[in-house]
């Protein structure tokens, strides 16, 4: 009975989605605002990656809210999983030699690649969110390779708070210096150079550190408790 009701409901939803989809043409430029960003983006922000200029500059306040959502989700995960039990001495089976050596070899390379991605976020594809995810996957490799070592909880929390603080402080500096929040008050420089775009690279590097430490903290919270229980 329940299954029939569910499938009936699903059919209604699918009909609605299909009726919406046939009205939307594929492959045609639809919005004016996207065209404005493409035409004026480079001269207004000094950044050659338009997606970065939309994320950090035109919709920077939106991004601040999203980063806050990320922070609250990580905090909630820590609160849900925290136990009052005493930490038992963990007897973990060490990883095999091949896995350990491979992880030790790959860890600095992946870390370097992640940092490269978020430093060059305003020139090439990439940026703080992607670079942070790559850095977090490097820490996942540590969790696989050498299990007795844990990612320090205090360190991730400190880096995360520092990243958020830099974002807010740079925004408030724009408010103080030239009138509104997240205003690009530094000189824009020449496009296609590393030092260009004013505050955009600074904010994106802060986002990179924040996202990377947050995702690494999530892995540590979820995985650290495994060995405590089993």
């Amino acid at each position: 009975m329940r299954r029939i009701i569910s499938i009936l409901l699903l059919g209604i939803v699918a009909l609605g989605i299909i009726l919406t989809l046939v009205k939307i043409p594929f492959g045609v430029s639809k919005t004016k605002v996207g065209k404005y960003y493409i035409d004026k983006g480079v001269e207004e922000t000094g950044v050659t990656n338009i997606v970065t200029s939309v994320v950090v500059n035109y919709r920077g306040f939106d991004t601040l809210g999203e980063v806050t959502v990320l922070f609250i989700a990580a905090l909630g995960l820590g609160a849900v999983l925290s136990t009052r039990k005493k930490k038992v001495k963990r007897k973990v089976e060490p990883a095999s030699l091949i896995l350990y050596t491979g992880c030790r070899f790959l860890f600095p390379l992946i870390l370097l690649f992640g940092v490269y991605i978020f430093i060059h976020g305003h020139l090439t594809p990439g940026g703080g969110f992607q670079g942070g995810a790559i850095v977090a996957s490097a820490f996942l490799l540590i969790y696989l390779g050498s299990r007795e070592r844990r990612i320090g909880e205090r360190g991730t929390k400190a880096i995360e708070s520092l990243g958020g603080l830099i974002f807010v402080v740079v925004g408030l500096a724009g408010l103080v210096i030239s009138g509104y929040f997240l205003r690009n008050f530094l000189p824009k420089g020449i496009p296609n150079l590393l030092f260009s775009g004013g505050i955009i690279p600074i904010i994106y590097i802060a986002i990179g550190f924040k996202v990377g430490s947050e995702l690494a903290g999530i892995i540590d919270n979820l995985g650290g408790a495994v060995s405590r229980l089993s």
Binding site: I17, F26, V28, T48, V51, L77, F129, Q130, A133
Partner: protein, 113 residues
């Protein structure tokens, strides 16, 4: 057009898993598939035929046909938030398993309908 079809299929399968399946982890896998489908749908709305990515990779490049950057910026943050919310849901599932000893939604008290 095939992209719309793929996105619609993913949304449909994800909703089916969420509505019909009983296992909590399976439901969360369904949410993840639904999330991917919606992201694919948003990106394919912004696509322009024969367009290039919205990046001026060398100085003399003229913007003749470029895809819409706004949906890409939205989806970029949506993916990262999606993984954090998924982790929160999984931690709640782990807690429920420790408390009730089962992942079956029908057997967990106060969850029947």
């Amino acid at each position: 057009m095939i992209y719309y079809l793929g996105a619609f299929g993913l949304i449909f399968i994800g909703l089916y898993i969420v509505l019909v399946k009983h296992n909590l982890i399976k439901v969360i896998i369904g949410l993840s598939i639904l999330n991917t489908g919606i992201n694919l749908f948003l990106i394919s709305i912004g696509f322009v035929k024969k367009g290039t990515a919205p990046i001026f990779s060398h100085p003399g490049l003229k913007a003749i046909r470029m895809v819409d950057p706004v949906p890409q910026a939205l989806v970029l943050t949506a993916i990262v938030i999606g993984v954090a919310v998924l982790a929160l849901a999984l931690s709640l599932a782990i807690r429920l398993y420790q408390h009730y000893g089962t992942l079956n939604l029908r057997k967990i008290r106060e969850q029947k309908w």
